[in-house]
């Protein structure tokens, strides 16, 4: 009884070790195919980041220089770091009424932790995370960005 248990342990141990060695042996012999390393500065031209990579917050604009931001400030409230400052203005509608609209969307890249909370909070899908990551600059001031393009206005039909 004891002996069979003993032999079984030895057998199981040896087998699992050999399984491990088979795996690493496969990686070694198929190194060309299996290597996952991105040789970053060398492959800069062809490098594509994966979809869910969070590099910085951007505000997409369409071809008419229109964005979807209503200036509701939900993102500013959602941000845990105070990264976003939204400066609003009152805009005159064609029907004579005044309406709150965005003047400047200030984004401090140096404070952002890429947590994605602002993107989730936005009710009108105005902002998203971009895949860029080469953010280093020599002057800290350059990290403060205005996300809405100059002269842009809100897209038709976005409330």
């Amino acid at each position: 009884m004891f002996l069979t248990d003993y032999i079984r342990t030895v057998y199981k141990g040896v087998r699992s070790l050999l399984t491990g060695m088979k795996t690493t042996g496969y990686y070694f012999t198929h190194a060309r195919k299996e290597i996952k390393t991105e040789e970053y500065p060398d492959n800069r031209a062809t490098l594509t980041m994966f979809d869910r990579f969070k590099g910085e917050v951007v505000m997409p604009h369409d071809e008419n220089n229109e964005h979807r931001c209503t200036g509701c400030q939900a993102c500013e409230i959602a941000c845990p770091n105070g990264t976003i400052k939204i400066i609003t203005k009152q805009e005159l509608q064609p029907d004579g009424k005044k309406k709150k609209a965005i003047d400047t969307f200030v984004y401090h890249l140096e404070l952002c932790t890429m947590c994605n909370l602002c993107v989730v909070a936005c009710p009108s899908d105005a902002i998203k995370m971009a895949q860029t990551f080469e953010h280093s600059v020599y002057d800290k001031k350059q990290l403060k960005k205005v996300l809405n393009n100059p002269g842009s206005k809100i897209m038709e039909g976005v409330e």
Partner: protein, 364 residues
């Protein structure tokens, strides 16, 4: 081409020997000059060997973990190890206050010297051996267990609890695994009937022991490789260093050249262990021979014996490296369980098996 084939290491060695004896009349002087030459040759062989092993280890590790390993300095990163050596040499060789200065500085020297001593009876090629002592195997196992003195010395003199713990662990480890190593060496000694390295190699002329001795010799080969991996403190048995819990174990306090010596000793030990396994189980420099097929054996003889030796040695080095990059590390109690409950009983039974096999002549 013909000339190249006739030049071998042994002819070069005996040529130098004859020339020395004829030019230097004093026999003692000639002997000592010869020894110095042998020592220099050994160093010239070992330092590049350690570079190659260091490079090989990083590449093997890289490939097994799906990355490239060093690939920036020199073609395919081959000069990385040179850059690292330069870095180590430039560093300050610190001796901590409170440490035992004499022992602290002596320990790395002892490590390197003991492992260079073990190289003496190893046959690198046909008739090319520094010292063909008639108790070669015994000598090897006796001297290689001296390495623990260097480790204990380093750990004790460092005045650091991590170092001391690492050294004590390695003491327990080497004392236990020595037994399995010894017993698996004995199985070949039983089959050969000699402790002399050259006899052991010659006895494999009709086939390597691992083939001729079939199952029992394969078992003792496996046990030898496992136990000697533990004896040279390599992962998965690197409890003396134990990066995860003891920072660097017995060489925590070492830096610069002294640390480089530990590294050198580690790689020389790796080479020695593999060379001994290759000599005893895979025939050393003996080409691949099958029984009495004269034609086949003759074709195999065309490959130089030194290449056979190095090829087999590097094969075993590769396996030991693969161990390191495949298996998780053992805990102290698991380490001792493995030795006392598994390796030792199995190798004891195996020794009996080999003895019976040798008496009955059940091998090829």
């Amino acid at each position: 081409m013909n000339l190249l084939l006739t030049i071998s290491f042994s002819s070069v060695a005996s040529g130098i020997h004859n020339w020395l004896v004829s030019t230097i009349p004093n026999e003692l002087l000639a002997k000592s000059v010869e020894m110095v030459i042998a020592g220099i040759c050994l160093l010239l062989f070992l330092v590049p060997l350690c570079f190659i092993l260091g490079y090989m280890e990083r590449k093997v590790a890289g490939f097994m973990q799906m990355r490239y390993g060093p690939n920036r300095v020199g073609p395919y990163g081959s000069l990385q190890i040179v850059a690292d050596t330069v870095k180590l040499v430039m560093k300050e060789g610190l001796t901590p206050t409170g440490s035992d200065k004499f022992l602290f500085n002596l320990a790395p020297v002892i490590m390197v010297v003991t492992c260079m001593l073990v190289l003496a009876p190893i046959a690198f090629a046909k008739d090319f051996q520094i010292w063909d002592i008639n108790i070669g195997v015994l000598y090897v196992s006796a001297i290689s267990s001296l390495a623990v003195i260097g480790i204990l010395m380093a750990g004790w003199s460092s005045y650091n609890k991590y170092s001391l713990l690492g050294a004590m662990r390695s003491g327990a480890q080497i004392v236990s695994y020595e037994l399995s190593v010894g017993l698996s060496l004995i199985s070949i000694v039983i089959l050969t009937g000699s402790l002399k390295m050259s006899d052991i190699v010659m006895s494999q002329e009709t086939g390597w022991w691992i083939i001729r001795g079939h199952i029992p010799v394969i078992i003792s080969f496996v046990i030898f490789v496992i136990a000697s991996t533990a004896e040279i403190n390599r992962a998965p048995f690197d409890l003396a260093e134990a990066e995860q819990e003891l920072t660097a174990g017995f060489h925590t306090e070492y830096a610069g050249m002294k640390f480089a010596m530990f590294l050198l000793a580690e790689y020389i030990n790796l080479f020695i262990v593999s060379a001994i396994a290759a000599t005893l189980f895979l025939g050393g420099w003996m080409p691949f021979h099958i029984g009495h097929w004269q034609e086949f054996n003759h074709i195999m003889d065309f490959v130089p014996s030194s290449l056979w030796f190095l090829g087999k040695t590097f094969f075993i080095i590769f396996i030991i490296m693969q161990f390191r990059w495949t298996f998780p590390r053992l805990r102290v109690d698991q380490l001792l369980t493995l030795e006392w409950k598994y390796l030792l009983p199995i190798s004891m039974v195996n020794t009996i098996l080999v003895t019976v096999m040798a008496i009955m002549g059940w091998h090829f």
